[in-house]
């Protein structure tokens, strides 16, 4: 028995772990701000849970980024390439 997304199409990729590391934010800090349990942030980071639209928007708002910069249906390239406009 598994709790992972049912198919590849259900997987939502995200950059939460990278953004947290970059801004020195703990899971608990983020969880407290967006109103979920810290374990839930871990499940989202590992791709084991796809958040609701409202939660995804709250997380994106916390990082001050558009939601598509944090979540994607495709594997995400490095943040420097897409958001900050750097390639090197």
């Amino acid at each position: 028995m598994s709790r992972r997304p049912r198919s590849e199409a259900d997987i939502v990729y995200n950059r939460i772990a990278v953004l947290r590391a970059e801004r020195d934010v703990t899971r608990k800090d983020l969880a407290d701000e967006v109103g979920v349990h810290p374990q839930t942030i871990g499940y989202i980071e590992r791709g084991e849970y796809s958040p609701s639209l409202a939660l995804a928007l709250r997380i994106a708002r916390f990082f001050g980024l558009p939601v598509e910069a944090v979540f994607s249906l495709e594997p995400l390239p490095p943040l420097s390439e897409t958001v900050y406009g750097r390639t090197g």
Partner: protein, 166 residues
């Protein structure tokens, strides 16, 4: 509801604080949770078997007192630990759990809805059949156990399938 309202509820609730207490993190590993499920299932199933067997061989009603007392005394700490292992998701107020926890809880409830329904129906049938045969007290015991099992199976499914925390 603001972003932080769920967190504030968690902070207010004594039960929620207890279920999230890191002192009990050892109960939240998959290995411990599954062992607790097996232990609880063996205990309750043994009690069901003993109760039905006693009825089948026509044992004295008083004979069942000891097995029931021992099993229920063993069940209380076991279920307490199991509940800590699943962060009490079935016993906490909905306002103290988040959307992911609510989804895990609901998925388990739905996954075992048919076995739970049949166990509940079995409980009703056991009581009626026993009463019809003139042994209502034993029927009530068997019915209670089957109904109790129906309540426990969502806990067991949740504890068995919860992903490893990290």
């Amino acid at each position: 509801m603001t972003d932080r309202s769920a967190t504030r509820d968690m902070e207010r609730s004594y039960l929620a604080r207890r279920y999230d207490d890191d002192r009990f993190a050892w109960t939240r590993t998959r290995r411990v949770r599954r062992r607790l499920v097996v232990a609880e299932a063996v205990l309750v199933t043994a009690l069901v078997v003993v109760t039905f067997a006693a009825a089948a061989v026509g044992a004295e009603r008083g004979w069942l007192g000891w097995p029931w007392t021992v099993a229920l005394l063993g069940f209380v700490p076991l279920h307490g630990l199991l509940n800590l292992g699943i962060r009490g998701l079935y016993d906490r107020s909905g306002s103290t759990i988040d959307e992911h926890q609510r989804r895990l809880r609901d998925e388990s409830y739905i996954a075992v809805r048919w076995p739970a329904t049949f166990l509940t129906l079995g409980a009703v049938v056991a009581v009626y059949v026993a009463a019809w045969m003139g042994d209502a007290p034993r029927g009530l015991m068997a019915g209670f156990l089957l109904w109790f099992l129906a309540i426990l199976v969502p806990y067991w499914h949740l504890a068995w399938t919860l992903p490893e925390e990290a």
